[in-house]
Amino acid sequence: MPIADLRTVPEALAPAAELLGRLDEAFETGFGRLSSANLEALVSLGRSFHGTPIAGDLEAALAGLGRSEFLDRHFAALAVARSAVLGAMSDALVAQASAALGRPRPELEAIAPGPAQEPPPKLAVLLESVRHWLMELAIAGFANLEVGALLPFQSTLDAIMAEPALARHAALLSGFLGELLTVFPTRGKPEIPRQRWVDLWARAMVLSLAPPAATPTRAVHGELRILATDLRQHDNLAQLVVFGVFVEAGKPARVVRTGVAAFKVDVLQGDDLGGLLGEIGGKLLGALVTGQALKIDGMLLTPAGDLVWQEARATLLPAKPKLAEEAGVLAKAALRPGHDPADRHPALIEELVWLPGDAYALAGKEGRTLTIGGQPFPLALERVPVSEDLNLGDLAGSKGMVAALRFDAGQWSLQPLAIDVGKPLAKMVGTSLAAARGKAKDGNLTTLKERAGKLLRKKA
């Protein structure tokens, strides 16, 4: 089984990871109090970019930061350089995975951009506020943050959430701020997830360099057959991501990704998500519970293979595709979900694979380790959502699974996304959400609104 080749990683990865590891230490210390080791790390980052298009900006930024010149363009240059290294690492990993799996590398579809539109001036102001806040975090250092420096950003975030064009920013920044507030205030030395926070910081900085340009899209007509799902969430947002085979007339079958997301509060979890996500993706939830295919009529598709979900452009079809039959496309299609070049990052790799039941076995205590071809292969346990819909226990005796190849903490692992347990319906996250949607009127959201209503009336 060639997937076993992925127990090692490309050689060029280690030095790049080390370079970034040393850079990230500066973010923990804070650029306002860099140590000589931090300064050396900055110098080596600059050296590794010699002769590249961003060398000039980076040199100026590093020199400036060394003189304690705190300008947002210096921090932006740092974020761009760091992201470029991660993009290159991502490319090397995707190339390795494609070769090991014997499939073509994923391609972006060529779609002509629409007419450029001038973004509203308000967006630029909001993004400037974001850059400013990020700069303050970097100057202080993650180890030295105080709640007083974090809370004022909430009002900027509220304004960002009100802008549909900044949905990505809202999703990322609300998750990041929430996480910072989970750790601070702290007693004693806080535990800083350094690499993770610098990842989030750098991503937020790069996203905030300029108002987002409209992604090119084309309207597509065809049939969507769901292969797998994944649930992503933090306290203030939940997103159900759905992967499927998409068949357009006269074209080879390809793989697409779609998803629906809802903003929420911490107390809304589990069944509550059905009501929130059903509002925007009711038919998608419906297809998950019945296993039906969907007819797509004029929905927009991006170059990276994201189908931008629109309820009105979907219809449930009588056909109930079989997972094992559809999953064959995964090994062949070059047009499969990927990422815009600016978004590439090892943490975002989600290469889908179909593993027939005889290709893997469970081992270890409570069957929490996977063996493929007799060799152990890590399971991405931390990524499996806490849900009745999909359990690792379903893997025992299963007929096959769709898994996402993930890269985390320097190694490849597999995250089971859909498990064929020999029944018509495969196990995957989200299959219970349609039923939960029906119960929403008794749910926490209704209670919250009713209680708030009581307070409002009493006050008035």
Partner: protein
């Protein structure tokens, strides 16, 4: 990787619709046990250990004298559930051992302050701000960054 907390049991949202650690206070909204139409606004202050409980019309809770009332106890219980004992203890600066605490009730004896009034409107407006999150329009836009937020 920081995973969202998986709660030991579901939060009792009807009893305690809102609980947060904010601006140096553990504060929230607690439903009245006897009157469907009444809610209480309660808080504990970090450091001083001061507390207060009143109706949303700023009328003090009858059950609160020199020690926390049952609404404050319920607030503490739900806070420990929502945020973990360790975080509540660190936030309020209590002298308790996080590993040994099984529920919020045990933390009340570490509350050393007295009853000090705070305007209920302040906490209430935080509740409304909190609720704004569920009024933000849902989105179908691709959100690649959510790959960092999993469980």
């Amino acid at each position: 990787m920081i995973r969202p907390r998986v709660l030991a049991r579901a939060r009792k949202v009807h009893k305690v619709p809102f609980v947060e650690l904010y601006a140096g206070r553990l504060q929230g909204v607690v439903s009245s046990g006897s009157d469907e139409d009444r809610v209480y606004v309660s808080y504990f202050e970090a450091g001083t250990g001061n507390f207060y409980c009143s109706t949303n019309n700023n009328r003090p809770c009858g059950g609160m004298r020199n020690s926390p009332c049952k609404h404050l106890a319920e607030l503490m219980g739900e806070a420990v559930l929502q945020f973990s004992a360790a975080r509540v203890i660190a936030y309020l600066g209590l002298a308790a051992e996080p590993d040994k605490v099984r529920g919020g009730g045990e933390l009340l004896r570490y509350i050393k302050g007295g009853a000090h009034k705070v305007e209920a409107g302040m906490v209430f407006s935080r509740f409304l701000t909190y609720l704004q999150y569920v009024n933000v329009a849902p989105t179908a836009a691709p959100l690649p960054e959510m790959a960092w937020f999993v469980r």
